[in-house]
Symmetry: C2
Subunit: 201 residues, 2 copies
């Protein structure tokens, strides 16, 4: 005999399919929603219902855009330098970079990082699209803005090799001490990179 | 200019209304769902849509039951002793107790614990319903199965006073050393309670 109503268990099940949501967390969410206003639950439901149909991927930059738009405003904006492309793994990385207010080029979303363990091989990434764009837009510089993780580094190295034959400058984000971190607390690898990449004062 | 599609931001907004879900977590959930199968998103949507209409509260025990049931099977089950009632704060506490496989009475869900800071006063709890039930079912024993927190203790003391005039035995869950915990790691209060409540060997 099940101790909980079927509708409740089904919702818990559906929630726990989200990556990072365990069964206990899913129960908490479901119970919170159940205790709350039914209108709020219906609102969340309609957002989920509409999600996929109202969002598409920009065919130029591969960032996420409203389904009724043609191309991301990150590309069409005339103030942006189309010959300067930051290469990122996921659409959220764009937001992180935009928040710096320092980058005035455009973006190319790879769609992941090489990670054989998760079944992500180079051919799953949008590398061919990047090469096409470099040629079409006569891109001058590609900034590899991948994570400072093993997957990020592997992907950066792979992309660099793929672009070697093209007349495009390939740079990557500096590695070094994060601002506000004491030297004594920095990990060896970061500190090593900060040494290697030391800049003239 | 918003960097993310509107439908996406609305979903993130709706998710972050759930207690315990911050904006970053909400983004992660929304992105996971967006990357996944649209059918899964629609499935979660329909579960949420149906939630409130398919669940109701049992008028006897106040546990959650399917909307098409009259009374919880925890009450109607003839193998259960209706004269023995475990008083719990929330419907999930029932499941925790059921998992012990040791309790063969029934339940009464209070609907919370007294917590003035959260605006929960005694009159918000199902105390009158408990008293009615004690009289109707000629309940012999009420087990106060509330949390060992300040709110749980406050509520237990309050309920005990409310039931003082009735001919019902009021007990509460033993406090003491949790199984598998070393004495040296037990906190003072727990250890103090274990001493006070020591049992003959």
């Amino acid at each position: 005999m099940s101790l909980l109503p079927k509708a409740f268990e089904q919702l818990v099940d559906a929630f726990s399919k989200i990556s990072g949501v365990g069964p206990r967390t899913a129960e908490r969410y479901a119970y919170f929603i159940l205790k709350g206003d039914p209108a709020k639950a219906r609102n969340l439901a309609s957002m989920l219902e509409a999600l996929h149909s109202q969002i598409k991927v920009c065919p130029k930059t591969f960032t996420l855009i409203d389904a009724d738009k043609e191309i991301s405003s990150l590309y069409t904006d005339t103030n942006r330098d189309k010959k300067m492309v930051a290469l990122v793994a996921e659409p959220f990385d764009v937001i992180a970079l935009e928040k710096t207010n320092l980058f005035k080029g455009t973006y190319h979303v790879l769609g992941g990082l090489i990670s054989p363990i998760d079944g992500i091989e180079p051919e799953h990434l949008r590398v061919r699209e990047l090469i096409t764009r470099i040629k079409e837009d006569e891109v001058r510089e590609v900034i590899l803005a991948t994570n400072a993780s093993i997957e990020g580094e592997t992907t950066a190295i792979y992309i660099q090799k793929e672009l070697a034959g093209l007349s495009v400058k390939v740079t990557r984000l500096a590695r070094g001490l994060p601002i506000g971190v004491d030297l004594e607390y920095a990990d060896q690898i970061t500190l090593g990179r900060a040494l290697e990449g030391r800049q003239e004062f």
